[in-house]
């Protein structure tokens, strides 16, 4: 059953991929734009088609008919697939012929990559357990589908959802969490393909595929592709394809190239605020290469067309396009300083201030001051190959463009946020440059250097493979049906047992009344709820919730009928709520005791946690 569903999901993903390729091919044909090889053309077509489809999906949200909008988008993709099938088929066959292995070693490498992809695909379909995904990547989309396209001020991070989140929305609109997760996995496959394509510009096919494998086994990447439930991997795909277009020779002085690069850059900027730095770096590279005002203008036009939508949404909702950032200082927006400080602490945690930190960050060796996490582990490959990359450097556009985008993006993100995983989108660019560095000792017949770098590459891949096999086992068990979904979630899902206890206690009791919860992981709640954690809600400003009267007014205004305490109320707002319990204004109606993670999930420490459901007395 589980494998059958996985097979069907795989077919659906293939269909979406062909749909995006057809849409993109249609657009590129309209622009009379050809890329150098079939593989490049196919990848850029998919990137352009994906970005255009997301615009379509975004616009349908404003109609408040999300499900119908998703069906319309699928119909458009289907129609274009019929129109473009010959061209896409020819390109696909051409791409396959270009990458077909010609030696036994290459065949083995291909087979190994296929096996890794298969395992990652199955893992990606495991039930959602990613913490941020349960908080907002998936939870916000689920809320949009159930309550409509409105601002959700009780989930402060919902405003950070970008265009690629629409893929999740589409999957959930079709009633399939698997499809939503599979679409994220598809982003990983496409990114690995773009690494191979970029690297093959200056290395052999085997080396290019080896570095694509390195991407698939890098902990940050396989976490993003499989269980994170976060669509950021598409930023990496779009950054690579934008560089492919920018690196294309022979299109100088045409209007198509900057327009298309801008269009793809907009897809990156529209994904996440930090994507603006990458889009800015692409703009810089374009200006350096083309040196025309018209080029810069067309780039801006293309990027605005594809990436303005989440900014426009936030502007319409709050008056601040980059809400909630800059809210207190320059722009408006209904923010609570407490939640805002929390967001800054999580997203702009440790900007790097000195050169050593910035350099180690740019070479993917940056760590947070609070302590390194595996989700920030890019591996030492780029650092090892750094000098070789610069020795291999050739002063032409195909080299300058990826290097400039990589370094300018890393520098900007390093000094603004300092979170290593935010430079994932430029990791494929670094890997493709690393591939060139890796081949240099072989070309120069440097016997010692070539065996040392090859040995370290193999060692790094083995270490990554070790981490991967620890990571994927539980996911694989549930994905192939060896473990029940509910048992898996009870074991691995953060706060899943609490959410289930709430669902069971309140099933059938709530009508239109909402439940106030203080959970971070909201996705598995099946009841109408409001997040009450002042750290992640703009509706609850602790400075304005000091008395029972304030809470009574809040309950009445938001139609809250139930409150869940598990295990305790957040400290900054606990006082009046505990008083209300003592005075009988909050009456316990159900209790349960469940197991829940304590501290970081990776530590795997669980403890008994009480869940108390209280009814609000009117």
């Amino acid at each position: 059953m589980a494998l059958g569903l996985a097979f069907l999901t795989g077919l659906a993903l293939l269909g979406f991929c062909l749909g995006f390729a057809s849409f993109g091919n249609f657009l590129l044909r309209g622009l009379s734009l050809e890329l150098e090889s079939d593989t490049e053309h196919l990848l850029v077509s998919i990137a352009a088609g994906l970005t255009a489809s997301e615009i379509l999906l975004f616009l349908t949200q404003f109609t408040q008919h999300m499900k119908a909008g998703c069906w319309v988008s699928v119909a458009v993709l289907g129609t274009l697939s019929i129109v473009e099938w010959r061209a896409v088929l020819a390109r696909s066959l051409g791409a396959l012929l270009q990458t077909v292995p010609r030696t036994r070693a290459a065949t083995l490498l291909w087979l190994f990559i296929g096996a890794v992809l298969l395992v990652e695909f199955l893992c990606a379909l495991a039930p959602l357990t990613g913490s941020d995904a349960l908080n907002y990547h998936f939870a916000a989309q689920r809320q949009i589908l159930s309550s409509g396209f409105h601002p959700v001020f009780s989930n402060s991070l919902s405003f950070l959802c970008g265009q690629h989140h629409l893929l999740i929305l589409m999957g959930l609109a079709f009633g399939s969490e698997r499809l939503a997760l599979g679409l994220i996995f598809l982003g990983g496959v496409l990114t690995a393909g773009s690494v191979a394509c970029l690297a093959s510009k200056w290395t052999s096919n085997v080396t290019a595929m080896l570095f694509a494998l390195a991407l698939l086994l890098t902990p940050v990447a396989f976490w993003q592709i499989t269980s994170s439930g976060c669509p950021d991997i598409y930023m990496a795909f779009l950054a690579s394809t934008a560089v492919l277009v920018l690196g294309r020779k022979g299109l100088v002085c045409t209007w198509r190239q900057p327009l298309l690069v801008g269009f793809l850059a907009g897809g990156i900027a529209g994904a996440k605020y930090s994507g603006c730095f990458i889009a800015g770096a692409l703009a810089l590279a374009l200006i350096v290469e083309l040196r025309t005002a018209a080029g810069a203008f067309l780039f801006s036009l293309g990027s605005l067309a594809s990436g303005v939508w989440p900014y426009l949404r936030n502007f319409l909702w709050t008056g601040n396009p980059v809400f909630p950032f800059l809210s207190g200082e320059f722009l408006g927006g209904p923010v609570s300083p407490y939640a805002l400080a929390n967001i800054y602490a999580n997203t702009a945690a440790s900007p790097n201030r000195n050169l050593t930190e910035v350099l180690s960050f740019a070479f993917f060796a940056g760590i947070r001051r609070s302590g390194p996490g595996l989700w920030e582990f890019f591996g030492p490959l780029i650092l090892i190959l750094a000098p070789l990359m610069f020795l291999a450097f050739r002063n032409d556009r195909r080299w300058r463009a990826p290097l400039l985008v990589w370094f300018a993006s890393s520098l900007a993100i390093s000094v603004s946020s300092g979170l290593p995983r935010y430079i994932l989108p430029v990791f494929p660019l670094a890997l493709s440059c690393g591939a060139a560095g890796f081949e240099l000792p072989w070309r120069r017949h440097w016997i010692v250097a070539k065996w040392i770098t090859a040995g370290l590459l193999v060692l790094t891949l083995f270490i990554s493979l070790g981490g991967f096999q620890v990571y994927f086992r539980p996911m694989l068990r549930v994905a192939v049906g060896l473990q029940d979904k509910s048992a898996y979630l009870q074991e691995r899902g953060p706060e899943y047992q609490i959410a289930q206890a709430i669902n069971e206690s309140l099933a059938g009791r709530v009508n239109d009344q909402k439940t106030l919860v203080f959970l971070r992981h909201l996705y598995y709640l099946d009841i109408p709820y409001v997040n009450g954690d002042p750290g992640t809600s703009f509706e609850l400003n602790p400075d304005k919730m000091r008395s029972r009267e304030d809470w009574r007014a809040y309950f009445a205004k938001n139609n809250i009928g139930y409150v869940v305490r598990s295990p305790e109320y957040p400290r900054v707002i606990a006082g009046p709520l505990e008083e209300m319990e003592q005075t009988g204004e909050l009456t316990p109606i159900a209790r349960a005791e469940v197991q829940s993670f304590q501290g970081k999930r990776v530590d795997e420490v669980r403890a008994a946690t009480p869940v108390v459901i209280l009814k609000v007395k009117r």
Partner: protein, 99 residues
Amino acid sequence: MVSFENLLNAKAHPSGEYTSFAQRKAGPERVFVCSGTLSLSRDLVHDVLEMNRADNPPSSKLQQILVSCWAIASFVWYFHRFAPALSPLLHRLLLRAWR
């Protein structure tokens, strides 16, 4: 010595195989002669000349030593830096292997 025909064949190859093709065809001297009446794209000639230059550096022994030392040192430094994050994982791996 590489003939024009071979250079043009190189164009027909996927660009990823460009280097290996040139190495195979050109041998250690790698002298590329561009003459005759066939038209050749400027990009292609530029690429071949760049490749020729990159493959024949004037001095490389010191570079090779430095590159090798850097590779080992950076590998060790990186894992030392990430040791706090990796040690629980390693512990779990060893535990699993033991069982």
